[in-house]
Subunit: 274 residues, 2 copies
């Protein structure tokens, strides 16, 4: 089963385009877990978040940085987290990797063979041969950064390249390259820039997936973002939320609070798509 | 001591602008080591390469991908490798990271606090707020990708942005931003494109360091690259070589062969700088 099929099944089953970012941070970790040792606390935190939300999401997205910051042991926490997620829910590793082909093959091996993720985010700056090794995996997907959700997105992604912005050139390339690999190509465009998100959807057409971060803590406008990113069938826009779900409560009830927030967001996304 | 001071001391002491990329790959690993278990073999390989070359280099540069591909244990190998390198030789983590500020802080924490590297390579695509967290560390350096050494560098980095190529805009930003952080900003420009390398040096001026990959297996022209990257005092161009040193021999004598190749390259670089 390819990535889109797996994702669409989860979407239909859970009636959801919500993806939860699993970015555990020791500082805002609920007090009830802080008594445990660091690693166990994080695995337990992730486990309870996943168990409380797994019937409400179309995907999960752990960001590698939060695990790497814990040293070698953090990658074991990532492995254990991956194992807790039900097999039928796709997991996107947010790693934003990119390197020359020989090295990109190692990153692809890590993400797809060692940790067995369904998809990975990749930075486009180094061009096609830095992306191709990830697309050699048939049932996996690559989400290329296009227009990111942060303020610095303006520094380079908006540069005028012979009449179109750099991020638009990236979107055009994603469309062109989407026919070249065995794996599936998709892209990342932030909720904080809904106009650009709409332009990106117009460029790439109906088929390709867009992963939309920036809702919640980053304060992107959910309704505008959902409508701009979805295709004409109101499909294929994966809305990622991390902090506002994970840290909905700092108390004993953090998992139930996360569930309530996830449910609210899922329903709001669905309303926007009606 | 800041990064440049540390690097310049190693340069003077070893009369060298050569940096060795520590990118251990199980496939071309010398036969003599293959009998050991994977992890031990790689630590031993790195240890023998470092011991054989440490008086010939100005820096080492492990690429994170080669360690990540070995799973959580690979990061322990990276830690053990870091410990083998003498304290006075700077170590650049080649990780090409880049993410929103909140996440970039985690990557910076990983590179500088957990693994204690002296510098890291960072991808510029996401702009200033994705770079700033790395520059919060006073005695460390950030090497921003500018014009990379791979064929795909042309896909985006050469795009015409209102009269100048994208990589030139990045170089201009590196110069501008180099005054903004506590840490030191530098850049990466590949040996495979010497004309572009020269343009980059002209843009950034005399002070900033350039890390130059692409010599050796990637077949960049060493003489042209060295002369293009160095400033007018024939300084501040760090020439990185990985595979052609690491795998100079697949036999028992691999460390001596690596030493000979490193010595030859160091001397050739110095001749180009005379």
């Amino acid at each position: 089963m390819n990535f889109s099929e797996k994702l669409l099944r989860a979407t239909e089953k859970h009636h959801s385009w919500l993806c939860i970012g699993l970015d555990p941070d020791l500082d805002p970790l609920p007090l009830v877990l802080k008594k445990r040792s660091g690693a166990d606390a994080i695995v337990e935190f992730n486990r309870r978040i996943i168990e409380a939300t797994q019937d409400l999401v179309c995907a999960y997205k752990p960001n590698s940085a939060f695990y790497e910051a814990l040293g070698p042991h953090g990658l074991e926490i990532l492995t254990r987290t991956r194992e807790v997620i039900p097999r039928e829910i796709p997991v996107i590793l947010d790693a934003k990797r990119g390197d020359i082909a020989n090295t990109a093959r190692k990153y692809a091996q890590s993400a797809f063979e060692v940790y067995k993720f369904d998809a990975i985010t990749v930075n486009p700056y180094m061009g096609w041969d830095s992306i191709e090794p990830f697309l050699a995996y048939k049932e996996r997907a690559v989400f290329l950064l296009c227009r990111t959700s942060n303020p610095g997105a303006r520094d380079f992604q908006d540069l005028n390249c012979s009449g179109v912005a750099l991020y638009q050139v990236v979107a055009e390339k994603v469309k062109e390259w989407s026919r070249k690999g065995a794996g599936e190509l998709a892209l990342v465009a932030g909720a904080t820039y809904p106009e650009e998100l709409q332009i990106v959807r117009e460029i790439i057409g109906e088929e390709l997936m867009i992963l939309v971060p920036g809702v919640g803590a980053q304060e992107g406008d959910l309704a505008k973002a959902v409508r701009s990113a979805a295709n004409s069938e109101r499909q294929r826009a994966i809305i990622n939320v991390s902090r506002s779900i994970l840290y909905a409560s700092a108390e004993e009830d953090f998992a139930q609070a996360a569930r309530r927030e996830a449910q609210r967001l899922r329903d709001e996304i669905n309303q926007c798509l009606e």
